[in-house]
Amino acid sequence: MASSPVRRSLALILALLAAAVAGCGFTADQRAAAVRFGEATREMADLAAEALVRTRQDVVHLRTRMVELGSQSVDLTKPASDLDADLDVDKLELRLRAAARLKAYGQLVRALAEEDSTARLKGAADSFIGGLSEVPGVNLPKEKADAIGALVSAVGGWFIDGQKKSALREVVPAARPAVDALIVLWKKEFDPKAPYWANALATTEERITGSLQNQINLLRPTPAGGAVVDGEVPLGEAEIALRRVRFHELRADAARRKVGLNELCERIQKALDLLKQANQDLENKMKYSDFSVESIQEYVGKVEECVRLYRVLRPQ
């Protein structure tokens, strides 16, 4: 049977479409990388925010108890040695803002890649078929109407996804160094041995078992009318005994909080490793995965779908 001009045109359009889809839309592994990145950023940002706030709260709590026990290590007149030590509110706000930005960025990446425009365009396809069927004399069989609907959804979807992918291809490599830099900063902040955020709690605990314990051990009952050894408040035996009990409670409390924070820091270090990997993987997938074995299989599927639509739509 000779090809009619309509058939040739339709075949040409579908062939061009099949060729064009290769560059449009996200591949499954690109979507998966964006979802993993979105998950990793959400988990990391939430963990970091929890650890930042919790460390400061613990430090303020312990140092307040230290003051009550007469610690001279806490000095309310010096900003770095007051109740929150060096964990000032402005520092906390800045770090929480960075966590919130990371989370927002991860969610945007995920939303852009994950949202399936093809499915959302079904309404547009239905309008197209509705428009066709309203024309007097046009009687479209259901099979052809479905094929046209699928074609409108697919083409629109691929085009919209292509636009989104192009934006991600531009943004992801540009933002990668910022995410990596934040990972480096948080590796330091949440290493209890490095002199940054989490270390403030470890240091506070050391002060309790260090200079405060020394002070408590130096307490002696006041001789009648005489001066006390620490030179501060005259203390009786009962008061000294009470302070010692409170000191032991505080020491146990500090040790417990330190263990809790150390566990949280370990989780954070692991989550940071995962985020680093997800960040690298996202960039690699956005750059190179268009021509992976999996993505070529997906294109084959798309081309097969185009061929199927052609078979349904070609003039009999």
């Binding site: 900003p79 428009g131 024309v135």
Partner: protein, 104 residues
């Protein structure tokens, strides 16, 4: 090579550990009080140094926030573009359906 804040903190901690050993070894209460006051002074110096170290990170945080803000703005713009295209495809689809029907 110039000393880093971490080097200085390490030195302070070392001095503190030495004083603590001295505190344990000294039987005299008055001497112990004096040694503990030295330890407390070193602790406050350590606090100050740690504050400086933390402040040094602030500029890096600000740069990161700026970059992530720019990335978010670009992605929101892309999402808005996609929504506009989506709206246009929807409107066009209805008109195109009618036109295609007439042509066919």
């Amino acid at each position: 090579m110039p000393e880093t804040i971490s080097d200085l903190i390490a030195k302070v901690r070392e001095a503190k550990a030495t004083l603590q050993k001295l505190f344990q070894a000294t039987p005299d209460l008055v001497q112990k009080v004096k040694i503990n006051q030295q330890i407390i002074r070193l602790e406050q110096e350590e606090d100050r140094l740690r504050d400086v170290a933390g402040r040094e990170l602030d500029a890096e945080y600000q740069a990161i926030i700026r970059d992530l803000d720019a990335a978010c703005a670009r992605l929101k713009e892309a999402e808005a573009d996609a929504q506009r295209i989506f709206g246009a495809v929807e409107s066009l689809a209805a008109v195109a359906g009618t036109l295609a029907g007439i042509i066919v």
